[in-house]
Symmetry: C2
Subunit: 209 residues, 2 copies
C-alpha cells in the first residue's frame, strides 16, 4: 500500500506556464524568472516527474536566453519525445479531425471571397490584415495544427500523465483520448498542494514511533 | 493446400468505376450500364468478394436511378461500414496529416491574398471563380478530406482488401497503411483474369480423373 501511495505522478508541460504573460506571473515576471520559479518549487517535490517534448523545449528557447538557464531545468524537466511509431490513435478520431478540417477549409474560402468582395469598401492593406486574422482564427483556433501539438498529446497519452496546457485545440483532443488536463493558472496551487503533502509525510517519517 | 488456393479475395470499390467517364467505359456507357456490366461479370467470379462502404453507396445513387438498379447489385456488392470504434491508426500518421493540412492552410491564405490584390486587374466574378478553383485545388487535391474517404481506407484495412480507386489522396494513405490498391482502368482486366482462372479450374474439376 505504501509503495502505491508513493507512485510518482507524471506531468507534461507546454510552454504556456513560462511564456504566456497571464499565466507565468505565478512563477515569475519574465520567462527566465518563471523557469527559475518553477525549478525552485519542482526540486522540492520528489513525488512529481515533469516532462516536455523536445520540440516544445525548443520553442521555449525562443523566449528565454539559453545561457541564463541553469542545468537544474534539464534535470527537473525531462525532455522526452513520444514513441510515435509505437502509439496508435482510435480510427474514429480520424473522422472527427477530417470533418473538422473540411468545415474549416470551407469557412476559409468564404472568408477569402468576402475579402475580395469588400475590396472597394476599404483600404487594401487593412482588408488583407483582416483577412489574415479571420482566416487564421477560422482555420487554426481550437484545432491541433502542428507537430508540437501532437507531441504534447501523444507524450501525455504514453506516460498516462497530467497535461498542463492552455491550448483549446489540445484540450479538445485530451478529452477525446481520456488524457487528464489542467489549466496553467491552477498549476502553482497544484504544486503547492503536493509540496505540503510531501512535507507532512516527511515529518511523519521522522517522528519516532 | 486446395482450400488456401480458394481463399476469397476481398475488394473494396469506390464510385469511380461506375461514375468517372474515363473509367466506366470498360463496363458501360452510363453509370447505370456500368453497374450492370460490373454485376454481369462479378456474379461469374465466386472467388472474389466485393465491398463498398454505405456512405460511398449513397454517393453512387446521386449518379444512377435507384429504380433501374437490379437487386443483383445489392447481392454482389456488399455494403459494409468499417469498424471505426475498433480500428486504430499509427500515431505517426497524425503528424503527417496535420503537417500536410498546416501547409495547405498557409497556401490557401496566400491564394486568398493574391485574389484580393488582383481585384483591380480583372472582373470580380472571374477572380472569385479562380480563387475557388485554386483554393480547392490547394486545400483538397491529394488529401483525404471527407468521412467517405476515411470509410474506404478503413474498410480496406479492416478486410485486408484490394482498394480500387482513382483518388490520389486515398492512394497516398493506402501506401502509408500498407493497403493494396489498383487503379480502376486496370480493374476489368483484373476481373477477366479471375474469370479465366475460375473457368479453367471449373472445367478441370469436371474432367473425370
Amino acid at each position: 500500500m505504501e509503495s502505491a501511495r508513493f507512485k510518482k505522478e507524471k506531468i507534461v508541460l507546454d510552454t504556456s506556464i513560462f511564456v504566456n504573460p497571464e499565466v507565468r506571473v505565478d512563477f515569475g515576471k519574465t520567462p527566465t524568472e518563471a523557469i527559475e520559479g518553477f525549478v525552485d518549487l519542482a526540486v522540492r517535490i520528489p513525488h512529481l516527474e515533469f516532462y516536455m517534448p523536445p520540440s516544445i523545449f525548443k520553442e521555449l528557447f525562443n523566449f528565454v536566453d539559453e545561457k541564463k538557464i541553469s542545468g537544474d531545468l534539464l534535470a527537473v524537466l525531462r525532455q522526452k519525445p513520444p514513441k510515435k511509431h509505437e502509439l496508435h490513435c482510435p480510427a474514429f478520431l480520424l473522422y472527427e479531425l477530417i470533418e473538422d478540417v473540411r468545415e474549416r477549409i470551407n469557412k476559409g474560402l468564404r472568408i477569402a471571397e468576402k475579402a475580395v468582395r469588400n475590396i472597394n469598401k476599404g483600404d487594401e492593406k487593412e482588408i488583407i490584415q483582416n483577412l489574415r486574422r479571420n482566416y487564421r482564427e477560422a482555420l487554426r483556433d481550437g484545432i491541433i495544427d502542428s507537430k508540437e501539438d501532437v507531441d504534447l498529446i501523444l507524450l501525455a497519452k504514453e506516460l498516462d500523465a497530467l497535461l498542463v496546457t492552455i491550448d483549446h485545440g489540445i484540450i479538445k483532443w485530451a478529452e477525446k483520448l481520456g488524457i487528464r488536463w489542467l489549466l496553467p493558472n491552477k498549476f502553482k496551487d497544484y504544486l503547492l498542494s503536493y509540496l505540503k503533502r510531501d512535507k507532512s509525510q516527511f515529518s511523519k517519517a521522522r517522528t519516532p514511533s
